[in-house]
């Protein structure tokens, strides 16, 4: 199975990179753009056929390494 993990700063945490990009976007004239957030996407292959079990394993991995849940939240996609 292929896993895609999306990691973003939590809504309450100021995303300074997102703010800087938003400023540049507005400079380009795209005034309708707001709330720009920058995150990362990590993808990998993972062995297993039981979807629920694989998802649980990926979540454990996220909690232990891929995301710092003090400041980040994550979303797991399995394909």
């Amino acid at each position: 199975m292929k896993a895609k993990v999306h990691v973003f700063l939590k809504p309450g945490v100021l995303d300074v990179q997102g703010k800087a990009i938003e400023g540049a976007v507005h400079t380009l004239g795209f005034g309708g753009v707001s709330d720009v957030r920058v995150g990362r996407m990590i993808e990998f292959d993972i062995a297993g056929t039981d979807r629920a079990a694989v998802e649980a394993e990926v979540k454990t991995l996220c909690d232990r390494l891929l995301a710092n849940t003090v400041i980040e939240s994550y979303r797991v996609e399995l394909i």
Binding site: L9, G12, V13, L14, A20, I71
Partner: protein
């Protein structure tokens, strides 16, 4: 007196820490590679140095926090050994769950390298007794991700319990409540972004960092 400096791949202040501890105290200093599964016996102080462990990949300190030696550092901390994380070392301690909070990108996205004045807000910890008279210190910061963050309730808690040891007088990086350094609940693990190892004798611009190493070893 015996100290150890942990060396991660990408650490670049490990030698600075060794020299700073040796020159400011009577301690001998062992360098310990991150793959070690045992620490030298009889340590009084363990220092996690500054630098860019694992190239700051994923998050600063995230991979270093999972190094084999960190299990030993945690066990030593539980036994009461003094542990100091400086800059990247502070990030490693937060990632390892040994200190609360996390370090975010600096508020203005810039790497900041300069001397800063710190208020020593708790001089009762084993790392800060040397600052009892002055209650301030000048040290150098050098970081791109030194912006301390914790939830409001957590900030209230650590402030209430006297865990905030150093605060920036003029906050350079957006840190919550001007926090530059904190201790754990037990008071034997300190993390700080400024570098006492770059400020331990007058020729470096400030000798105030020496007091931190002296305090840590005097209390051992």
């Amino acid at each position: 007196m015996k100290s150890a400096v942990i060396v991660f791949p990408g650490s670049n202040c490990d030698r600075d820490c060794k020299v700073a501890i040796e020159r400011s105290t009577a301690s001998s200093v062992d360098m310990v590679w991150h793959q070690e599964t045992a620490l030298p016996s009889g340590l009084d102080l363990i220092v996690l140095p500054g630098g860019f462990s694992y190239g700051d990949y994923l998050r600063c300190g995230a991979m270093a926090a999972l190094s084999p030696v960190m299990a030993e550092v945690k066990a030593a901390a539980e036994r009461g050994v003094a542990v100091v994380g400086i800059c990247n070392g502070f990030q490693v301690l937060c990632e390892a769950g040994m200190l609360p909070g996390a370090l975010l990108r600096n508020a203005k996205l810039k790497y900041i390298c300069k001397a800063v004045t710190l208020d020593v807000t708790n001089t009762q910890t084993r790392f800060s007794t040397g600052y009892s008279a002055s209650r301030e210190a000048v040290m150098t910061v050098g970081n791109g991700e030194g912006n301390f963050f914790a939830e409001e309730a957590e900030l209230d808690r650590i402030e209430g319990e006297g865990q905030v040891v150093f605060r920036y007088r003029d906050n350079p990086n957006g840190s919550a409540r001007n926090i530059a350094g904190i201790v754990n609940g037990k008071g034997n693990v300190l993390g700080l972004m400024p570098h006492p190892d770059r400020s331990f004798e007058g020729e470096l611009g400030s000798a105030d960092g020496a007091l931190l190493f002296q305090s840590a070893l005097a209390s051992a």
